[in-house]
């Protein structure tokens, strides 16, 4: 364990993963509660062409450049999705599947195009597919903080409004809250949460890090405040364990290992959490109580 603190690479891996897990867990609660889990998946896949284009256009492969490219592409996908469902008769899920395929496909084409011009840089781009924690350097951690910090601060600042809009948008609108603007803000916050995880977890699996911590946390509490903090904790724990395993193991892609760890935590929560867990409800049934013992 001592090497965690001394080894430079391991320290970055541990810190980076914890940061990513905590931020995506905290902010992912809103994606889940606003029933936008699939939107998160679309946006994280849509980030891929943004990463490739940012590299092609600027020639740089600094983390912050690539992540800004990723964020722009994810936002464009979200806006396009909105426009499609507003102006056509396509249903939400159809439009989501469509947009995801277009963006991800375009991203893969760009990646394979970059492959034909082999230089040192393009090797790094491919790791955005499934994530590579071992490649994290200190500058990446600052990039994550620079993107995640403002997103967290905005959420905290407008907490009561965000809570109300998430629960009952019509009522919030009747009070005069600018619901549309808040929805854009929340989408931006979710994009931030996705983007900071792309290096470590990758575009394919990142949405799991938004959704799974929230689902697990919801099992243990009936309060939004507790749920959000708990989700941050679960996300951090899973990312930490997963990134560590993948950093010390040979040839284990970080994203899948982190996501599997998080999934384990989630399944455990679904099974054993008091009140809502499967086991608990089984026990209540066995004791002859009604499954929905509501007063």
């Amino acid at each position: 364990m001592i090497e965690l603190l001394t080894d430079y690479t391991l320290r970055n891996v541990v810190l980076g993963a914890t940061l990513l897990g905590a931020i995506s867990g905290l902010l992912g609660c809103f994606a889940v509660l606003r029933r936008q889990a699939l939107l998160g998946d679309v946006m994280s896949h849509a980030a891929l062409p943004g990463i490739a284009l940012a590299f092609l256009l600027t020639g740089q492969r600094t983390t912050i450049t690539l992540l800004i490219g990723a964020a722009i592409a994810a936002l464009v996908a979200a806006l396009w999705l909105l426009a499609i469902t507003r102006t056509t008769r396509l249903k939400d899920d159809t439009a989501q599947a469509f947009i995801l395929a277009i963006f991800f496909g375009f991203g893969l084409v760009l990646l394979s195009h970059l492959q034909r011009h082999p230089n040192a840089a393009q090797a790094g781009l491919k790791s955005f597919l499934f994530g590579q924690a071992a490649a994290l350097i200190e500058r990446d951690l600052w990039a994550m903080l620079a993107i995640g910090g403002p997103a967290l601060a905005l959420t905290l600042l407008f907490w009561p409004q965000i809570k109300l809009i998430t629960f009952d948008p019509d009522f919030a609108r009747s009070l005069g809250l600018p619901v549309r603007q808040f929805e854009i803000l929340l989408t931006g916050v979710i994009v931030a949460a996705i983007v900071i995880g792309l290096q470590t977890v990758g575009v394919v699996l990142m949405s799991a890090m938004l959704i799974a911590p929230a689902v697990a946390a919801r099992q243990w509490t009936n309060r939004l405040e507790t749920m959000t903090l708990l989700a941050g904790g679960f996300g951090a724990l899973a990312a930490l364990i997963g990134a560590w395993i993948s950093a010390i193991g040979e040839g284990l892609a970080t994203g899948p290992v982190i996501v599997l760890t998080m999934s384990g935590l989630t399944v455990l929560s679904l099974l054993i959490a008091p009140e809502r867990g499967w086991l608990w409800r089984r026990l209540r049934l066995a004791r002859g109580w009604k499954p929905d013992d509501r007063v």
Binding site: A172, S174, M227
Partner: protein, 257 residues
């Protein structure tokens, strides 16, 4: 004196199909008014357009003489109960406190005075003991009363309620109507989207019959007539069937008003 609500030439359309067509409606102050009409007649759209939740294609709505945007503090709103996710991780008290958010500044957190207002509102709907329950643990009738308490916490002059009697038991219905009568006694105005024609004469002073157009509106005694109901519901008058052996009674003779 301005009426509580004054709707003029209101037209609402969803993808070019009109949900409401050129509706004029005046709600005097201090009355309980029911909005009735068949499913899909635009009752909810009327409420939502009045509250600025949907953009009308034409027309306007005024609350106590001014556009709604200037009168928000004087208006309370009870949405349909099934419009929210009751498994949302929050407590009864939290939801009722949301009724005070319109009076909070941007950066102020709800504090003691909001809490007390919310508890008082919960007391009024007899749910004070449930303040710290998760909202999903309540029955349908209790959830409806939580929404009512949230509107009471808004301490408004005009109340808009979308189907507050939907899916509640008889005891809850009685409790809710008593609260509405208390509001009227305090000089407030209550506009209720309602689906049970039989209780209209007993519960309400005024009624608006809506089917895309406003067929008739005014005091129940004058407006709630068989002819107007036929014009509103078309052939679907069997709604009345069970109360009088299959023939529609003349609603204007109904007691209780």
């Amino acid at each position: 004196m301005f009426p509580a609500v004054e709707i003029e030439d209101l037209t609402v359309a969803y993808s070019n199909k009109p949900a409401l067509w050129d509706v004029d409606l005046r709600v005097p102050r201090g009355v309980l008014m029911a909005i009735v009409g068949p499913n899909g007649a635009g009752k909810t759209s009327l409420l939502k357009a009045t509250l600025g939740l949907i953009k009308p294609a034409a027309g306007s709505a005024r609350i106590l003489g001014r556009p709604y945007a200037q009168q928000r503090h004087l208006v309370a709103y009870v949405p349909q109960r099934n419009s929210v996710d009751w498994d949302f991780p929050t407590t009864v008290l939290d939801v009722v406190m949301m009724g005070r958010y319109g009076h909070l500044g941007w950066l102020r957190r709800p504090g003691r005075s909001e809490r007390e207002a919310a508890l008082a509102a919960l007391e009024q709907v007899h749910l004070a003991d449930f303040a710290h329950r998760q909202i999903g643990q309540l029955s349908g009738g209790q959830q409806q009363r939580v929404f009512l308490a949230r509107a009471l916490a808004q301490q408004a002059e005009v109340y808009f309620m979308d189907e507050p009697f939907q899916g509640v038991d008889a005891v809850t219905e009685r409790a809710i109507i008593n609260i509405l009568r208390d509001l009227r006694a305090a000089g407030k105005t209550v506009v209720v989207v309602h689906h049970d024609l039989q209780t209209v004469p007993e519960y309400f002073d005024q009624v608006a019959l809506i089917n895309v157009r406003c067929i008739a509106a005014g005091p129940v005694r004058e407006v709630f007539t068989e002819a107007n109901l036929r014009a509103t519901y078309g052939g679907r008058m069997n709604i009345f069937g069970n109360s009088a052996g299959g023939t529609a009674p003349a609603p204007s003779l109904a007691p209780g008003d």
